[in-house]
């Protein structure tokens, strides 16, 4: 059973100056400010402690210090602790190391902030659009504070999502969208060989 103090000590011993600050307003919540260069290592360290990846949060902090903030959140389930690793990158070069190669579930969160905040993730295995419409103009990042909430860029034609390459000898079957009024509509392109599914996008 780890306590917040144990987690702090382990991180501090190993990463020293790359950990800038700890904050724990409650005995179950730990916020850690990590230097951007070590964010992938520290994330893996938390996983090694038994952490489970939850979600990443990206936010616009341009007005305060010209940075984009990124927070990777983890849960230590057996210890009742949430660990939030906070980092930031300057807005003119918002590049982070992707944690997706180690933690595949971070893939969507990172793609979301590529779309919404214009962040870049080095080493992301599939840096495709996730959220924005296929015809959304490049260079407008709707979650930045400068973009008004009701902005409606004009529609464009001749743009379409590029599917992943189907495996050799497979047939592609697009499925969807599921009902668009519900909160989890999704398109699948299913690659089948006969009736057996070989992959999907």
């Amino acid at each position: 059973m780890l306590t917040i103090e144990d987690v702090k000590k382990q991180l501090k011993d190993k990463y020293q100056n790359n950990i800038k600050n700890f904050e724990s307003p409650y005995s179950t919540r730990l916020f850690v400010d990590v230097d951007k260069s070590r964010i992938r290592d520290v994330s893996n360290e938390i996983i090694k402690m038994g952490g489970r990846y939850l979600v990443s949060v990206g936010y616009d902090n341009i007005a305060r210090d010209k940075t984009l903030g990124l927070i990777h959140n983890f849960s230590l389930d057996t210890d009742d602790i949430f660990v939030c690793l906070r980092t930031a990158a300057p807005v003119d070069n918002p590049e982070f190391d992707s944690i997706t190669p180690d933690i595949p579930n971070a893939g969507w969160s990172e793609r979301e902030y590529m779309d919404l905040l214009g962040m870049k993730f080095k080493g992301h295995p599939k840096p495709k659009k996730l959220i924005l419409a296929d015809d959304w103009p490049a260079g407008i990042y709707p979650l930045r504070k400068e973009v008004p909430w009701n902005l409606m860029p004009p529609a464009a034609e001749n743009v379409a999502y590029q599917l992943d390459e189907a495996p050799e000898g497979c047939t592609t079957i697009p499925v969807g969208p599921f009902h668009p009024t519900l909160h989890e509509p999704a398109h699948f392109a299913v690659f089948v060989d006969g009736e057996t599914i070989k992959g999907c996008d």
Binding site: P25, Y59, N105, W149, L182, E184, G199
Partner: protein, 355 residues
């Protein structure tokens, strides 16, 4: 993916206490979990401790939601594999709790009960008695359904060994909720990070290691019984007191808070950074389908196409309808359109089940 821009809207247009109602509309089935999770994040950021009675009522609302959501899923799952008797019976049983929800809150779903600081309506002694009666009926009828499902060969053949992924893969992909618990991952936010009144509740977390769709059926049915157990305990132990706690001062800007709630589909996470104009600077919602849907490709691999609806359905992604399917034969370049009902026919008429 459709993105509705809720986070942007709430960061620019509305105030703290309007957001619970928007949060509730994130999901049409399990709205209270989002309102609760958001409210808890605001309360943590503000350092507000709400009344114990409000926490008990929140617990009861969350569990009522779990009962109706799991029964809904059971019906949908039955429908997807062509077993409409399960669908009709599960939804018939579910109806009584929907009526109770309407009596208690004015709505069958999307209760509008939970706000930052507490809840909006109290549970009176009369309502308490009625709820106990409703639960008794549901429990009795669900036992019958459970037995029927457990003894039915065709359900076994359609769900066992379908949508398999290993426990290690499940952990690697950080899957949550019944999807993870059906694959031997013992996590449940209610027990691991207790919130509301769950610290006082005695309940089991059903975990099975069959690693397939059958496991999710078992986990969800057992969880429904646990939910009934929790509601009974909460009604029994509920203390008196106010249901709302006022915020005594303004919420300080730039406070970070994270709160998680176990929804019927898995764990919901809300991250909040407080802002200056009586609204959040940043509010991030993670619904359970967000991680779970990312694990679906692994579950689909090397399964039959006719099993696709039930595998996707097994994560309970509010799978309401498959509008259309286009079949493209890459070798000849021909395209065939399949409608929703065609796809359903393929799935429901699947022969040689059990391979």
């Amino acid at each position: 993916m459709v993105h509705r821009g809720l986070e942007k809207l709430c960061q620019t247009q509305v105030t703290y206490n309007e957001i619970p109602f928007i949060a509730e509309r994130i999901c049409g089935i399990c709205g209270s979990v989002h309102a609760t999770s958001y409210s808890q994040a605001v309360e943590l950021a503000a350092g507000l401790k709400i009344s114990r009675r409000a926490e008990f009522i929140r617990t009861i609302m969350l569990e009522i939601e779990r009962v109706h959501s799991h029964l809904l899923w059971l019906g949908v799952a039955g429908h997807l594999i062509g077993f409409d008797t399960v669908f009709m019976q599960a939804w018939r049983v579910r109806e009584s709790i929907m009526w109770f929800g309407e009596k208690l809150t004015g709505n069958r779903k999307t209760y509008g009960m939970i706000v930052a600081g507490g809840v909006r309506r109290d549970i009176t002694p009369e309502l308490k008695d009625e709820l106990l009666g409703v639960l008794k009926t549901i429990e009795k009828e669900l036992i019958t359904i459970h037995k029927a499902i457990a003894g039915d060969g065709s359900i076994h053949r359609r769900t066992k060994g379908v949508g398999c992924i290993t426990t290690e893969e499940t952990k690697l992909w950080s899957l949550v909720g019944p999807v993870a618990r059906a694959r031997g991952v013992d996590i449940d936010t209610r027990r691991d990070h207790p919130y509301a009144a769950y610290d006082e509740m005695q309940f089991d977390v059903p975990v099975v290691d069959s690693c397939d769709v059958w496991g999710t059926v078992v986990v969800r049915i057992l969880e429904t019984f646990e939910a009934i157990k929790i509601i009974r305990q909460a009604l029994d132990k509920m203390p008196g007191g106010p249901i709302m706690t006022e915020f005594s001062e303004d919420i300080k800007p730039l406070q970070h808070a994270i709160a998680a709630v176990e929804a019927p589909r898995g764990e919901v996470v809300h991250y909040l950074i407080t802002g200056e104009e009586n609204r959040p600077e940043r509010w991030r919602v993670r619904a359970p389908t967000y991680p779970n849907l990312q694990g679906v490709p692994a579950m689909l691999l090397n399964d039959q196409f006719a099993d696709l609806p039930i595998i996707i359905g097994s994560i309970d992604p509010c799978f309401s309808c498959t509008d259309r399917v286009v079949r493209v034969d890459v070798r000849s370049g021909t395209m065939t359109h399949l409608t929703n009902s065609d796809l359903e026919k393929i799935s429901r008429a699947k022969k040689f089940a059990g391979r």
